[in-house]
């Protein structure tokens, strides 16, 4: 087994793990964390593909590597935005939870339309 295959299997497991965590964990913060883990797995897969594409005197194909750099920056922006949203939700309501599945309960006290 080559190193690329090894890391490829590692990436597959990370994707499964991250996907599981981001679906199942009830805490939004840990969903965000699991999403980052999942992202790490996806990027690692790109890295394996890049390494397998070593050619023309290059140790790896630079195109997927560049995509990973772009992807890491996007994932960080997403994390910063999601964490800020979560903290703001916590400041506003005193709790940090998403009651998934519950349809928005009409609140008799607030008569404001969403406009």
């Amino acid at each position: 087994m080559s190193a690329e295959t090894l890391y490829g299997l590692c990436a597959a497991a990370l994707v499964g793990l991250g996907l599981f965590g981001s679906i199942v964990d009830p805490q939004p913060l840990r969903k965000i964390l699991a999403f980052n883990l999942l992202g790490g797995g996806v990027f690692l897969l790109f890295g394996v593909i890049a390494r397998r594409g070593a050619a023309a005197g290059m140790a790896a194909d630079p195109v997927p590597q560049a995509m990973v750099i772009t992807g890491i920056v996007v994932a960080f922006s997403a994390t910063a935005l999601a964490v800020t949203l979560l903290l703001r939700l916590f400041e506003t309501t005193g709790q940090a939870t998403l009651r998934t599945g519950a349809p928005a309960r009409p609140d008799p006290d607030s008569d404001r339309a969403g406009s």
Partner: protein
């Protein structure tokens, strides 16, 4: 210049228009951030220009009867990235420009900068994000590279999410967070598929991939992952949970953009994936599965819309149902159906639904916004007499509703008729039943709003705020547009055929 640096051979003369369609709103984002207090002016100045570019691209595609292509930096794919406008892209560009401009005119009342000349939060964020949405959507309509499309998809997410919680209420914050989490997992699954495609075929260019894909495991896995990710972003049943609170909680102008355009971006990519990247792969089970989810969305979304007490939530649930129709184009125009004329009709009907729902839904959300502004609430039970107070707005709402129901001569009618005929002719009659049932349910929920609105009030109606005639006129104009779409059905369907991948042939063994 040595020719080696520049590989631009496939680029067409009008290619710079494609670049401008993406770059102009992006430049608007930069300008708005740098000169915050002029954000509104910058956005409104860019709108006519953006509209003109979209029209110019449409005209160019129509006249040349061929796709426009631009090659970025002269680096031809697979190393570089190309943009391409076919008939479908041109139609989406114009639809987007139309809706964005209407929303811009409408939002001048809600998101004007304060009189003092300083910069304020909500206006700056709204106008900048609106430019961001526009740039992202145009990049999606024009993109030919799957990773470039991933970046565009993320651009769309990041511009859309802050629009949901502009008012900072707890419910909208939770809705925005849930939306963001769904969208992030969706795009990372899409990205996973992109990685697999690159690893197998060494290119991400849609045209090159189409020539290289074979029916093998890697294609199935990556297509499944990408489709699942895109469905989560499109809010197809059963991944729709995030949509109603997000779309209903946003300010009306933002709801219009989100429901009319933003969810269509990821749907469009699913269409590109199945029809442009994988034409001719026998995805019949997958297509039937997508159609089934779409049918479930139509029934489920409509029934839930019928049970809402709030106008904006009703409209948001109707979006779930109308998204369902879009997915009927998969079973009706792939597989055996693809080769025949009816497959093509179904495909055109699906795209028609995309456009007509965009325009109708934008009009309806903005109408709901005006109603909410006038009444101070949006409870359906309390709409009595509003028809007399805001006749133009209610009329516009009704016209939009006609498109949802599929009544002639609306654009929705043409779309649903095409889907219906195709399903009957192809012998897949079960979709026809769903289409008809969905139309009836849509009629029921639209009349649930119109009936009290047109009835007289028990007591004289007290309006909280005066609604400007100008904004009412914008909404009505858009709704009339949705109606007129049905009167010119033939030419657009010719347009849609331009640059469409040839009817799938036997790539398959």
């Amino acid at each position: 210049m040595p020719p080696a640096v520049t590989l631009a051979s496939a680029a067409t003369a009008g290619g710079f228009l494609l670049v401008l369609a993406i770059i102009l709103p992006a430049a608007g984002v930069l300008l708005a951030l740098a000169f915050g207090r002029h954000a509104e002016r910058i956005a409104l100045l860019l709108m006519p220009a953006g509209f003109a570019i979209a029209i110019a691209i449409l005209a160019d595609v129509w006249h040349s009867q061929a796709s426009l292509v631009a090659v970025m930096g002269g680096w031809a794919p697979p190393l570089g990235i190309a943009l391409r406008a076919d008939g479908l892209s041109a139609m989406m560009l114009v639809t987007t420009a139309l809706v964005i401009c209407a929303v811009g005119l409408f939002a001048r009342g809600d998101f004007g900068m304060p009189a003092g000349g300083g910069e304020a939060r909500a206006p700056l964020v709204f106008w900048t994000m609106l430019m961001g949405v526009w740039s992202a959507l145009n990049a999606i309509w024009l993109g030919r590279d799957l990773f470039n499309l991933y970046v565009a998809l993320e651009l769309l997410t990041f511009s859309a999410v802050p629009l949901v919680c502009l008012d900072g209420r707890a419910e909208t914050l939770a809705a925005a967070l849930r939306y963001l989490l769904f969208a992030l997992v969706g795009s990372v699954l899409y990205l996973l598929g992109v990685a697999l495609f690159y690893g197998a075929y060494g290119t991400l260019d849609i045209g090159l991939l189409a020539g290289r894909v074979r029916a093998e495991p890697v294609v199935w896995v990556s297509a499944a992952l990408m489709t699942a990710g895109l469905l989560a972003k499109t809010a197809l049943f059963p991944l729709h949970l995030w949509l109603p609170p997000a779309h209903a909680g946003a300010p009306a102008a933002a709801s219009a953009v989100l429901s009319a355009l933003v969810v269509k971006g990821s749907f469009f990519l699913a269409v590109r994936l199945w029809f442009d990247v994988l034409p001719g792969l026998p995805g019949v089970p997958a297509a039937q599965a997508l159609g089934t989810l779409g049918a479930a969305a139509i029934i489920f979304g409509s029934v839930l819309a019928l049970r809402q007490e709030r106008l904006k939530l009703l409209i948001a649930y109707s979006t779930i149902a109308q998204i369902g129709y879009l997915f009927l184009l998969f079973p009706l125009s792939t597989g055996a159906a693809a080769a025949g004329i009816w497959g093509s009709v179904a495909w055109t009907g699906g795209v028609y639904q995309l456009v007509s729902h965009a325009i109708a839904k934008a009009a309806m959300f903005m109408a709901a916004g005006l109603i909410g502004e006038a009444l101070g609430h949006d409870r359906i039970a309390g709409l009595g007499g509003i028809g007399r107070a805001l006749p133009m707005t209610i009329f516009a709402f009704g016209l939009g509703g006609m498109s949802l129901m599929g009544l002639p001569p609306s654009g929705g009618f043409v779309a649903k008729l095409m889907l219906l005929t195709a399903s009957v002719t192809e012998g897949q009659w079960w979709w026809a039943v769903v289409i008809l049932l969905g139309g009836l349910l849509a009629a029921a929920y639209v009349f649930r709003v119109l009936a009290p609105a047109l009835a007289g009030a028990d007591e004289p109606l007290r309006l909280c705020a005066r609604v400007s005639r100008r904004r009412e006129a914008v909404v009505l104009a858009l709704a009339v547009g949705a109606l007129l779409l049905g009167l010119l059905p033939l030419r657009p369907s010719e347009l849609l055929q331009i640059g469409r991948p040839a009817a799938p042939t036997a790539i398959m063994r």
